[in-house]
C-alpha cells in the first residue's frame, strides 16, 4: 500500500470525526503505519457539514489535507453535494442510502449501503451508526485489518458498550464485503 486518502463527511453529531480518528489511530498504533487525521473546525458544534481527512501511508505524510480522495464517505445529502467533486476519478464513494441520493455525474464507484437502517433494525441504537460505517469502509476497501480497529474501540469505549460496537462493526463489514472492490 502506498498511500490512501480518505474523506469522512456528514453532519455534526453523526460521529464521522470520531470514526476518522479511530481508523487513523488503528493504522498507527496497531499496524505500524503512518497516518494523519485533520478536520476543519468551525464555530458550530452540531449540525451543518463536518469533514475529516485521513491519510494512511507506509511513508511520511507531509501535507495532511485531502484533495483527491481514494475513498469518500458521505452520510448526509449536504455533505455529498459539497464534497462529491473531491473523490479521485475511479475512486470510491460510500453513502448511506437512507440519507443520500447519489447523482450519476460522479466519476467514481458509488456504493450506497443501508447502514443506518441496518443499525436501527439489528441494534436499535443510532449511536453506533459511525462504527457501522467504519466497518463498511473496511469491508469495501480492506484498508486495515478489522481487529486493529476493534482494538482501538476497546480502548475508547466503556466496557458495557464494546459488544454493541463489535456488532455494529461486523454489520458494516458484512454490508461492505458484498461490494468489496
Amino acid at each position: 500500500m502506498k498511500r490512501t486518502r480518505l474523506i469522512f463527511s456528514g453532519s455534526g453529531g453523526q460521529g464521522v470525526i470520531t470514526a476518522a480518528i479511530i481508523l487513523a489511530e488503528a493504522a498507527v498504533i496497531h499496524e505500524g503505519k503512518n497516518a494523519t487525521q485533520s478536520q476543519s473546525y468551525g464555530a458550530a458544534a452540531r449540525g451543518g457539514s463536518t469533514r475529516s481527512d485521513v491519510i494512511i501511508s507506509d511513508e511520511d505524510i507531509m501535507f495532511p489535507e485531502v484533495n483527491q480522495a481514494n475513498t469518500l464517505v458521505c452520510l448526509t445529502q449536504e455533505s455529498y453535494n459539497t464534497y462529491k467533486e473531491l473523490v479521485r476519478p475511479g475512486g470510491i464513494v460510500i453513502t448511506d442510502s437512507r440519507f443520500v441520493t447519489t447523482t450519476k455525474k460522479v466519476d467514481a464507484k458509488q456504493i450506497e449501503l443501508p447502514m443506518y437502517q441496518t443499525v436501527m433494525d439489528k441494534i436499535g441504537k443510532p449511536i453506533v451508526f459511525n462504527v457501522c460505517m467504519l466497518g463498511a469502509v473496511l469491508g469495501v476497501t480492506e484498508i486495515l485489518k478489522p481487529p486493529s480497529v476493534m482494538d482501538v474501540l476497546k480502548s475508547r469505549v466503556p466496557e458495557d458498550f464494546i459488544e454493541m460496537n463489535r456488532k455494529a462493526l461486523d454489520l458494516g463489514m458484512d454490508l461492505g464485503a458484498l461490494r468489496a472492490v
Binding site: V28, I29, Q37, Y41, F63
Partner: protein, 382 residues
Amino acid sequence: MTEKIKFVQGNEACVEGALYAGVDFFAGYPITPSTEIAEVLSKRLPEKGGKFIQMEDEIASMCAIIGASLTGHKVMTATSGPGFSLKQEALGYACMAEIPCVIVNVQRGGPSTGNPTHVSQGDINQARWGTHGDHSIIALTASNHQDVFAMTVDAFNLAETYRTPVVLLFDEAVGHMREKLIVPEAGEIARVDRLRTSLGKGVDYHPYLPREDGRLPMSDFGGDHRYNVTGLFHDMWGFPSNNPKVVSGLLHHLNDKIENNVHNITRYKEHFMDDAEYILISYGSSARSAIHIATNRRARGEKMGVLELQSLWPFPEAMIREKCANAKAVLVVEMNMGQVMRHVKAAVDRPENVFLVNRIDGKLITPTDIKSLLRVIQGRGV
C-alpha cells in the same frame, strides 16, 4: 513498546514534551486553538503532583507562572494571538527579571480576535517585539508532532540555561492535526534543571551576580535567601538603580546572553539541501507543504531543497546566509505577509532572489500554492 507510540493532536504532543521536560506548574486561560494544552494538563499535572490553575485571564496566567518559576518550579502557559497580546507586559518583566518560563502560542488568524479556528503564522514578529524595550528572546517552532515534542523539551532547557522566557510558536494546523508521536524513554533527551546557588542559609546571596561562566544561579524565592525582584533596571542585589553603568551593563547582558549564543540556540532541519539551486525556507505547518513539493521535484531530478527553521528568534542570520549562498532563488513559504521573508532578505547576499510564497486566508498553504508561484519565478508562466 506500543504504549510509547501515541496518536495525538499537536497540542497533546506539546503536553507530552512539557511533562517530559519536568513542567510542574501551569497557569492558563483557555483559548482556541490552544485549549487542548490546558485541558490535558488539567488532568495530567495533578496526577504527577504538579499544579494546574485556570486563572481569570491571560495576564494573570503569565504573572502566575512568573511567580511560580521564581519559587523553583518549571512553568508553562499556553494561549493564542489575543492572549499572547495580553501577556506581553508580564513577558517583558520576565525578560528583565530573568525568570525562566515557557509560553506557548498556538497561532490563529489575527489581528485582534481575528479568525479563531483557522491557521496563521502572523505572530512571528510579535514574539520578538511584542513587549517594549531592547530585550532579546528565544522562539522555537515545529512542523510535526515529534518535533513539537522535542522543541517543547528544548524550550524548557533553553529557558533554564539562559534564564529567559522562551516562546513556542506553533500553529492551528499542527496543533489540531493528529499524527504519530513516539515518546522517548526517560533520559533519552537531556533535561536542563534549575541552576541553584550553592550558598547556604544566612550567607549573602546576590541574585544578579553572574558566575565566571556568565550564568546566574537562582535561589527559590521564599526559601533560604531574601532578595528583591523588579522590572526596573537593577543591580546585583536586585535593587532598582538608574546608575548609567548599571543600566547599560544590564541591557547589554540581557541581549548578549542570547544574541552571542545564536549558534547554540539555532535549530533547523535540511531536506534535500545538498546542491539545491531552489531553496524553500519554511517553518511550522507551512514547511509540510514545502517538503511535499521538494520531495516530488527531487524525484524528477530538480535541484530543490527545504531549509526548515525550528528556531526563529534569535534569527539564524548567519546560517541562512551560508545555506543560501549558491541558491538561484530562495522562496520563503509562510502564512503571513512576509514576516520571516523580510529577515531572510536582510540575511542573504542577494536579497533580489528572495520571494514570498504566502497564504493569509486561514487555509493551510497547499503544495499547489507553492507550485504555481514557483512556475512564475522559474519563468514558466502560470
